[in-house]
């Protein structure tokens, strides 16, 4: 009865789905003060159909009944919703823990003090570079200063162990030690997540995703520091290198996690905002619970999956074919290799399919009159979709 044996058994169980998600991502609004080039949800402008305060409260009550332990709230920038703090309070009063992702714009000293006083609220500040130059190229001018001010406020308020969440890119992959030092300086914990070709991320994935050599360095770095750095189980495709990284090493889409978007649509995961992964809406009959339990899409995801082209690969048992959303939005078959397959199979498949149409992401909430600052490099010649997520809700899980 080794730890590994137990974990395997649990993963088998999880693949058939749970009665309720362990936790889920809930994007409260598409409104955002920033316009990050890799935004998973193509956020910018609020959607007029976004859930009202009363509808959000009804969702929270349902999550309490289903015993969903906590929600990862994101957006958009969730704190710009006028009812944001009320909803956080409502969730914790209903025994639903909250971890929210923010660019820091509303984390004033006063708010930071309030947050430091709650056991049931965790904060995650997004930062995509150890320097303003690297961060602001992706997240926009001034965003580094905003994030650091928020961190300082949290640290000064005595908030211990908040998260600093970094999407690993070609530009910041060499800054991992510096990013860790920043986290340590503020008494925070570093969290690294994978860049997905979802949302606006589809447009920049070719230029921003880490090179094969950087992926290998990232893996070695994570193996060496796995216990102190969170990954949201984001890099399970790297398990193909050998030793599995801490976490479930499993795609939890529709099985243990899902996404509720600002208009109440339920998707299999935060990285898969597309009609192919749309399971239903919380406003439908039976609410969220009915979607989770009865959706045909989720039932399909919970059935045993075939490894397809990957079945014969020696790494399949560890990487399990990688990320469904990454494959989908790069135009790869879902039962084939991940575009960043460590054996190079994804790269080869992508090269062979160059020029073929890829699925367009769903919905675009980008600011109309504010061009997204793509300054990293030339746009790829290949036509790419436009949509993404930076948060696997299995974040801190250690089986």
């Amino acid at each position: 009865m080794t730890q590994a044996g137990k974990t395997l058994a649990l993963v088998e169980q999880f693949q058939y789905g749970l009665d309720a998600p362990i936790c889920l991502t809930w994007e409260l609004t598409y409104a955002c003060n920033l316009a990050c080039v890799h935004c998973l949800s193509s956020s910018g402008r609020r959607d007029p159909r976004e859930l009202t305060t009363a509808q959000c409260r009804a969702v929270i009550e349902e999550l309490e009944r289903m015993q969903v332990f906590y929600v990862n709230i994101g957006g958009g920038e969730p704190t710009v919703r006028p009812d944001f703090w009320d909803l956080v309070g409502y969730a914790t009063a209903h025994h639903v823990g909250v971890k929210f992702s923010t660019n820091g714009v509303k984390i004033t000293p006063q708010i930071a003090r309030r947050l430091a006083g709650s056991d049931y609220v965790d904060v995650q500040i997004s930062l995509d570079g150890a320097t303003a130059e690297v961060n602001d190229a992706v997240r926009g001018p001034g965003s580094y200063a905003t994030a650091l001010a928020a961190m300082r406020n949290l640290a000064e308020a005595g908030f211990k162990g908040f998260k600093i969440s970094v999407v690993v890119t070609r530009q910041n992959a060499g800054q991992l030690d510096d990013l860790k030092a920043i986290a340590e300086e503020f008494g925070a914990q570093l969290r690294l997540t994978r860049l997905r070709p979802s949302g606006r991320g589809a447009d920049v994935w070719d230029e921003l995703h880490p090179t094969a050599a950087q992926q290998r360095q990232l893996y070695d770095w994570l193996v060496a520091r796995g216990e102190q750095v969170l990954t949201g189980d984001s890099f399970f495709h790297l398990a193909g290198y050998g030793e599995a990284l801490p976490g479930l090493n499993l795609c939890g889409a529709g099985r243990v996690v899902c996404l509720i978007d600002p208009v109440g649509d339920v998707y299999a995961c935060p990285f898969a905002i597309h009609e192919s992964f749309l399971a239903g809406n919380v406003r439908g009959p039976g609410g969220f619970a009915a979607v989770w339990r009865d959706s045909e899409l989720f039932a399909r995801l919970r059935r045993p999956q075939t490894g397809g082209a990957c079945q014969a690969c020696s790494a399949y048992d560890s990487c399990r074919g990688g990320c469904m959303a990454a494959k989908f939005f790069t135009g790869l078959p879902l039962d084939g290799p991940d575009p960043e397959c460590v054996k190079g199979h994804g790269e080869r498949t992508l090269a062979a399919a160059a020029g073929a149409p890829v699925p367009r992401p769903f919905g675009n909430h980008s600011h109309r009159n504010r061009p997204v600052p793509v300054t990293i490099g030339p746009r790829p010649a290949r036509h790419r979709p436009d949509r993404a997520c930076d948060e696997n809700p299995l974040a801190d899980f250690r089986p």
Binding site: M1, A9, I22, F69, Y70, D119, D396, R398
Partner: protein
């Protein structure tokens, strides 16, 4: 499970235990999921019998009695005590009387 399992170190079956007040328990087919709101860690109970033990802990004079109430026989005890020891080390359960 072998009956010659070595005696347990670290978990005292004869003390009174309880679920940590900040832990939420959700039954699942395979047993249960546990979430600790203080440590923000997730854990799991890998059998329905272990779930019964955990639920009985708070009302039983000892963990051994909670196991008995869950119908566990002597040969099974070491494995369950080890599982309880793991839960204790992650603060999911704690000795009664501790604050």
């Amino acid at each position: 499970m072998s009956t010659e399992a070595p005696p347990l170190a670290g978990f005292d079956l004869d003390r009174p235990w309880q679920l940590h007040p900040q832990v939420s328990v959700r039954p699942e087919r395979f047993g249960a999921l546990l979430y600790h709101f203080g440590t923000r860690r997730l854990s799991f109970l890998k059998s329905p019998a272990l779930l019964t033990v955990v639920r009985e802990l708070g009302g039983a004079p000892s963990a051994r009695e909670a196991c008995r109430r869950a119908g566990l026989t002597g040969a099974e005890l070491p494995a369950y005590a080890a599982a309880l020891g793991t839960l204790a080390s992650s603060q999911m359960i704690r000795e009664r009387g501790e604050s």
